[in-house]
Symmetry: C2
Subunit: 463 residues, 2 copies
């Protein structure tokens, strides 16, 4: 019986997986002038989504789904090493890349929605400390100690960039782990989220500075001030102005239409606009999306109609015993409160896995094959771990500092951006680039299982 | 008081509308190498979505929201005539175009989900008759009568293409009108949907034939047979095989994960894959998406977990009086049944308006300014109306034939494809192209108000 079931699973997966691939292989190019070749992109999306969902099997091993998505991405992205080049085109498909960017923006918007701005401010001081230590420590260690020791004879600019790349934190991965395991509301998660946002601002400043040094050999204090000012102004401004305008927007737009469609549109546009503005001033779009989610609150949507099921059930139980009414009320109020998160969720299901599979696909395992490079990379990886884990202790007492520290470890796509810019400036050689890629791979892939382990141990200790 | 409110609405709209536009105007190009310039696309999406939602004000005048989306698109797309070129770049933005294509695919997938395959087959004969008459009549009238009379002295190939372009039906617009007014389940709506799908298959065959004639001066019967065979095989095959495999897929994938995410992924991938396959064989992707939606049924997802609110409420009322339990049960069963449609809905809110605003933007009002062209176009438009409205009578007795006929009228993007291909082949001159554009504009923009009128009169007659 069990065997039949597994056969069914295999067969089902096979069909949904092979069908698009077969179609892909028989590219006929029948797309006419007036139509884009949307077919291939649709197929890629389907393949990435199904692959991501199949990879959620890692949950059976107690691991968060995001690890599975990353790993399946690494596998698909490196099939070329086995001579299977089928997945190579997707890496450069501009539309898939856009959808993946949109995915991480949606994710951070969701995380922001689930976070509470007041709780976030409560962790402001520890988050700031964690961010500062988590940036300073890897930067100093990378630039002045392990860089010159492990990679001797390179220019000081290279060490600067190496150090800078080690300061990055990819909040997406950590946030997903906390989300997958239902711990997003913990104080540790809030500290990591806050620290990661501050980290992004600091990272932006560092990137501007080291880029200026690499390009012109010197730093212009005015320029640094300008960038820092803009970044800080954006964050403080978008939260302050958003707090003020969100209720106004909710009220105004509910007058045009008070249905779910308008509610959804208002929320998503708020996220998109802030993400775009963040990128326009040079910050990562995810910072804007997170700020937007943080600002928005169920209360801003109180002028909109409740979801239909809530209205229906409220009506159905209106003459029920008081105790039952209260019980049902609690459920539907909670549901109505979560409604905005719920209507954003399918967008997350649609786009977020694309981001993580694509992040995995960007990992090139080939770099691992060069033993000297690998050894140097392992040394630098150790520093990358130590810097962030020690930063966790800056979170102070009353929280699990290990959790905070490990939460800051993954470099992910942010580290990749640093490395790419350094390579673009000619400061980072192919070897150093490979080293950084390995650091990014290891920090990114080790964090989910480690965080899972720490979270579970923590719950056990608490319970 | 009323005045203050309206001021608030204006202010709110102003902010959400002007902010992104202002950001757009100060393009700084700070996007670095490793990042796409996602910011501009995000802003465009926000602008299009907010514009679409503001246009839903037409509902106050009893018109369907889709008319507002089309009209606001026409306005934004023709601001260049007033010297405001701000919206020109969005027309050629490849990512926005992709999202818009994805939007109409999602729409037809939703329409398919809301339709029932058995009910669809019940209207099979009338739908086939409506489609055949609705293709033959405009084709013959266009090619042999009004073409030669109103546009004398052109080649017979031009008349052929003119006739072919008049056969198209854009199901998206009609489907949205029926959906907006809650009449998607009516027999008339089902006939129009069925006929539009058949129409698309017939249109594909005609397009292939007239293209072959225009290119080579003759038709290859084998080629026509091949195209027709592929198209029919696809439709029949995808429905038959889908009917067989959908339950299997549902069962298999629920074993990997039985949550909402997997349910959503499975459904959407099914739609994407069939849409892609349809395009691969030369049909419109929407035909595949519609077939996919038609095949999928709540029953295929019975192995997945119910939505949380359903489980919670079921638990809360389990020891309530039987009568109350039954009442609540009915609501939550209905909700659980509609759950798959509900989790696709936000995707619709996100992407469908982009399609309709973009369809509106593709309309170039400039062509309207040439009086002789306009007059010819009006004549041909009359034929375009008459051909489809008469086809409605083929639906037979027991239905409102006017509704069916008018439902087939809009040429929309399908007519645009015919015109573009003809232009690409050099068969259709700029003047004839302009004529066709006007025909498309008028048939597309007149249908929503006319259908609304007919539907309301119909309800009144029924009630």
């Amino acid at each position: 019986m069990k065997c039949t079931r597994q056969l069914l699973v295999l067969l089902g997966t096979g069909i949904l997986f092979v069908l698009p691939l077969a179609a892909m292989a028989t590219e006929e190019g029948t797309a006419d002038a007036a139509h884009l070749d949307v077919a291939s992109t649709f197929l890629w999306m389907a393949v990435l989504l199904i692959a991501a969902k199949c990879a959620s099997l890692v949950e059976r091993a107690g691991q968060p789904a995001v690890l599975g998505e990353l790993v399946i991405g690494v596998i698909l992205g490196n099939l070329a090493l086995l001579g299977i080049g089928l997945f190579e085109p997707v890496k450069t498909d501009i539309i898939i890349r856009f959808l993946s960017e949109l995915g991480v923006v949606i994710l951070l918007f969701q995380i922001g929605l689930e976070s509470n701005i007041r709780r976030m401010f409560q962790v402001g001081i520890p988050a700031l400390l964690v961010a500062v230590v988590g940036v300073a420590l890897p930067f100093v260690l990378g630039t002045y100690i392990v860089g010159p020791i492990l990679l001797p004879g390179l220019s000081s600019n290279t060490y600067l960039f190496l150090g800078a790349a080690l300061t990055a934190t990819s909040v997406g991965i950590t946030a997903r782990v906390f989300q997958d395991l239902g711990k997003l509301q913990s104080r540790e998660a809030q500290i990591v989220l806050g620290a990661a946002v501050i980290d992004d601002v600091l990272g932006l400043i560092i990137l501007a500075v080291v880029s200026a040094i690499a390009k012109e050999g010197s730093v212009d204090i005015g320029g640094i001030g300008l960038i820092s000012g803009k970044a800080i102004l954006f964050l403080v401004g978008s939260i302050a102005i958003g707090q003020f305008f969100a209720p106004l927007l909710g009220k105004s737009f509910s007058k045009i239409h008070a249905g779910v469609g308008m509610k959804f549109t208002l929320a998503i546009c708020f996220g998109l606009v802030l993400a775009a503005l963040a990128q326009k001033i040079g910050l990562a779009p995810i910072v804007g999306a997170f700020a937007a989610g943080l600002v928005l609150d169920p209360v801003h949507f109180r002028y909109f109609k409740d979801p239909k099921i809530v209205r229906d059930i409220r009506e159905a139980v209106q003459d029920a015993p008081a105790e039952l009414q209260a019980r049902v009320s609690k459920i539907i109020e909670h549901h109505a409160d979560r409604h905005i998160e719920e209507i954003i969720e399918p967008l997350g299901h649609f786009l977020v896995p694309i981001f993580f599979v694509m992040t995995g696909m960007a990992v090139s395992l080939e770099t691992m094959f060069d033993l000297p490079v690998l050894l140097v990379a392992l040394g630098i990886t150790a520093v990358a771990f130590i810097g962030k884990i020690l930063a966790g202790f800056a979170a102070g007492r009353g929280v699990n500092t290990w959790l905070v520290g490990w939460g800051m470890v993954p470099r992910g796509e942010v580290g990749l951006i640093f490395a790419s810019i350094g390579k673009g400036l000619g400061v980072i050689s192919d070897t150093v680039y490979s080293v950084l890629i390995i650091v990014i791979i290891i920090t990114t892939l080790c964090t989910p299982p480690m965080l899972t382990f720490l979270l579970k141990r923590n719950s056990k200790a608490m319970g």
